[in-house]
Each structure stands twice: as structure tokens, then as C-alpha cells.
Amino acid sequence: MSPYNALIGGVTATLLLGFAAQAQSDTLADIRERDVLSVGIKNDYPPYGYLDENNEIVGFEIELVRYIANELLGSPDKVELIPVVASNRIELLNSGRIDLIMATLGVTEERAQVIDFTEHYVSAAGASVLARQEARFDQWEQLEGQNVCGIQGAYYNRTLTDHYGIRLVNFTALPEAYRALQDNRCVAMVFDDMTLRQKLGEPGWEGYKIAVEPYEYLPMAGGVRKGDEAFLDAVNAAIVKAEGEDRLIDWEGEYDMPPSDHIAARAEAARAVAE
């Protein structure tokens, strides 16, 4: 076969493939018809969503998802939990595979152009840096040109490489990034501050510390398709209701998260609105 033939074939095939159409509909009506809510969640990300000893998916966000399902469809079990990773969750939402992202989704401007955010149920510190106790750096700038483990699809990746000149070694899954850090494939690992702090509490991580503090704080929210007003309102109403009932504070305790001012403040605000 000549390369010419292959090229022509390739171009034709690419153009044909390009015709793919995408469905758009009213999600609220849709899920009521299907009687199930499809939610993209994390299953490798304690405390938000992870597998417990019985191989069940549990976590802070999972509780919230079940609460919302109960509000919208009348049962916490009318929910289809679909594990997603940072690099595919928006695509899965926009092509209709899932109705809602509840997967540690940070609120950023770039994302706001392609999806709508729900109420910001958690405010998490942005990325921080986990490294060995002996590490001598404590500023982002000091990491320039160093190998740092990260995760593909994290929103801060471009800032870190472009602005701070860090050489990111990006994995698709979190466990593999931890493993690589322990194997000393990288001098440090960059990820959401909350998760890293939680990791420090686990056995085997005594020799590590948060070496560099986050350079920004970032609210986390659910994500829905753009222009899906009715559904967005319904989800928001459910979140605010949960906040007003102090459920988020309960879950914080249940999953060993440090008490957050943001959640407490929102609980107050929710009650104020309700009264």
C-alpha cells in the first residue's frame, strides 16, 4: 500500500467520523422518566469517593449524591455511580453519559465555558506539594525543572508547567502517582491539598510532609450540562437543603475531614435563607 492511499483513506475516514451527532435534552424530565440519576464520581479519592474494605464506593461526595437522588427521585438508591477520572469527566457529561459530575470538580473559568457549576459545596485548597521530610524547598518557584508527579487532566497542570516551569510526570490514576513518589521517581507530588493531607495520616507516610502550600483556594462544585436550568435548580435546591440540615458537617466528621469554615458558613447561610 502506498502512503498516498493511506492518507486519502485517513482523511476520508476522519471526515466521516466527524459527523457524530450529540443528543441534547431536558435532564430533569429525562431522569424522572428513567427513574435513575447517572452521576460521575471518584472511586479512588478518599475522603470524597473511594472503595471501602467491602469493595463498596463510599465517601463525602457519595453521601451528597445519594441525598440529591433522594430529593429528586425519592430514594437514595436510584442512582448509577459511574467512576470517572479528571481527564474524562467533562466529556462524559457533555456527551450525555452522565447527568451530573460530583467528582472533586474545582470551579475554574475554563471549565465554566463548557459546563455549568452547581452550588460550591466545599472550598478546598488548590494544589499543594507532598514531599519527603528532608525536602528543602518550600516555594513553587524552587521546583522549576524538577520532576514532580501529578495527575493527567488536573486544571492546574498548565499553570505549573508554563508558569513555574515544573516538569510534570502525569499519571492517569492517583494510586500510581503515590507509588511513583514512594519509588522516588519524582522529588515531590502535586495534588489537591486536602487529599494529600489525608494521605499523610496513613501508615507508611510518616516520612513525608506538605512541602509547599497551595497558591490558591478553590471551591468545588457539581457540574451539569450548559443551559440545563431546571435540572441545575433542582440539584442546587437539594444541596442547599442538605447544608441547612447540617448534613455536610455530619459527613465531614464521618469521613475524618478537618472542619471547614466554608461548610459551616454555608450551613448558616442556608438556614438564614430558609427562615
Binding site: M1, Y50, N55, I82, L92, P175
Partner: protein, 270 residues
């Protein structure tokens, strides 16, 4: 020098000895308490095999790989047959078109095709008022079946081409028509030669189902990687070996059988 049969017998014995030693080592390690790592592996085995906890309902895991492999093979066989027929068609445009599509699919990496399918196929389509939803599982099946179909078409073409041209001449001189020659003379012989290739392709496809991990399907590699988040470092090697062994135990017998069939058809008049 040893005679051929004695040589082969010794070689087979050596192979069995190595395998036996490996099994004995695992058995000692796992069952006689040689290490705690195998105990960890065994506790996670239901998850890795079926994607569910102790309940043994099939929600993913290696069972998904098997299922994906079978569904993709079914689709690929059908598509490949159509493509193969087009490759042998008398219409030059049809032939050229099929050839181009086949080469395109054969020259693209499986993992890239899988990704492309993931984003290309809609997740839900409305058809005659009913909503069909395309799960990542379904998309992975489609993504895997495309290159497999192209490879199968090539196998068909090769098998038909390998039937000696003298047979065409003799069949034609006996007054057979083209379609008749295909049906009565060529296909019965070509089919015998296709079967080993088809089986090898299935083994290849089965191995490729591991790639579905990039589409987020909860198949065995995905579950392996998730599970390892909860396991200690020392168990790592054991978990990887276990999953590698799953694939090997499934694919090796198929490859072996294919080779045996291949050797049998080699004696056919060519």
C-alpha cells in the same frame, strides 16, 4: 544427536517442570502461609474476576474482559466478512474503498481507536422514540471490534488467495460460475485455513481488552489499578502476576489450539 520425538518429549517435560515449580512455589507461598501477600490477592480475587465483592455477581473484572472479547469478536466477524467480501469484489471502486478502510483500521493503534470511539459515539441516541444509551462498555466493544474486523478481512483475503490458481482454472473448465466456484471450491478450502487465523485473532483481541481501561470500563486492569491504591507496596508484584496469569491462562490454550489446527491445514495442497 537426539531423535526428533525424544527431543520434543524432553522439551515438553522441561516446560512442565518449570510450570510445576512455579505452581508449587505459589502454593507454598499462599496456602502454607509463606506470605501474607497471596492472602491479600485471594481476598481481592472476587473483585478482580467479577467486579463485585463476595456476592459473585458480574459487574466487571476479568468477566468483563471475556464478555467484551466475545461481543467484539462477534461484531468483528460480521464486519470482517462484509469487508472481506468487498475486498474480493469485482467492482474496482468497492474493492479500493474496502482496501483503504481496512488499511486505515489496521494501521491505527488499538488504544487510539478506543479513545476515538469513546468520544465519537454519542452516549445516548433517540431512535424511533426510544432512547438507546451507549455505555463505555458498549463503546469499548465497538472500538475493539473495528481493528479486529479489519484484521479478519485480511485473513479472509489471504485464505482465499492461498487456494491455488489451478483450482480456479480447473473449476472454470468444468463449467462452474464465479459464485459457484467460491461456494463449492474455494470457500470450503479457504475456511479451513481461516479458522486458525480467526482463533489467533480472538486471542489477540482478548489481550487487547486490557486497553479498555483507558475508557473507564471497570474491567480487570482498571480494578487492579484501583485496588492497588488500598494495598501495601509489597503486594504489588503479586497482584500484577495474578492478573498477567489470568490473561495467560485464558489466551495460551487458544493460541496452542490455533497452532495445532494450523499445522494440520499446512498439509493441504497449496
Amino acid at each position: 544427536m537426539l531423535t526428533d520425538t525424544r527431543y520434543q518429549r524432553r522439551k515438553r517435560l522441561a516446560l512442565l517442570a518449570i510450570l510445576g515449580a512455579a505452581i508449587a512455589w505459589i502454593a507454598f507461598d499462599a496456602l502454607l502461609g509463606g506470605s501474607a501477600e497471596w492472602a491479600r490477592v485471594i481476598s481481592r480475587l472476587p473483585l478482580l474476576l467479577t467486579g463485585s465483592g463476595p456476592a459473585w455477581s458480574i459487574q466487571g473484572g476479568f468477566a468483563f474482559n471475556v464478555l467484551m472479547g466475545m461481543l467484539s469478536m462477534a461484531i468483528a466477524t460480521l464486519l470482517g466478512l462484509l469487508m472481506g467480501i468487498a475486498l474480493l469484489a469485482r467492482n474496482a471502486w468497492l474493492r479500493r474503498g474496502a482496501f483503504m478502510i481496512m488499511n486505515f483500521l489496521r494501521n491505527s493503534p488499538w488504544i487510539v481507536l478506543l479513545f476515538a470511539m469513546l468520544y465519537l459515539l454519542p452516549h445516548r441516541v433517540e431512535l424511533f422514540g426510544t432512547t438507546l444509551s451507549f455505555s463505555p462498555f458498549f463503546k469499548a466493544v465497538v472500538g475493539l471490534s473495528l481493528p479486529t474486523a479489519a484484521n479478519f478481512a485480511e485473513i479472509i483475503r489471504g485464505a482465499v488467495g492461498s487456494v491455488h490458481s489451478g483450482q480456479w482454472e480447473s473449476a472454470r473448465s468444468l463449467g462452474y460460475g464465479t459464485a459457484q466456484i467460491y461456494r463449492q471450491v474455494i470457500l470450503p478450502q479457504a475456511l479451513r485455513r481461516m479458522i486458525p487465523g480467526w482463533m489467533n485473532l480472538y486471542a489477540l483481541l482478548m489481550i487487547a481488552t486490557a486497553l479498555a481501561t483507558v475508557t473507564g470500563v471497570q474491567e480487570v486492569v482498571t480494578l487492579l489499578r484501583t485496588t492497588l491504591a488500598m494495598e501495601s507496596e509489597t503486594a504489588l508484584v503479586y497482584f500484577y502476576l495474578t492478573v498477567l496469569l489470568m490473561f495467560f491462562l485464558y489466551c495460551y490454550p487458544i493460541a496452542l489450539l490455533a497452532r495445532r489446527l494450523e499445522n494440520r491445514t499446512k498439509g493441504d495442497a497449496i
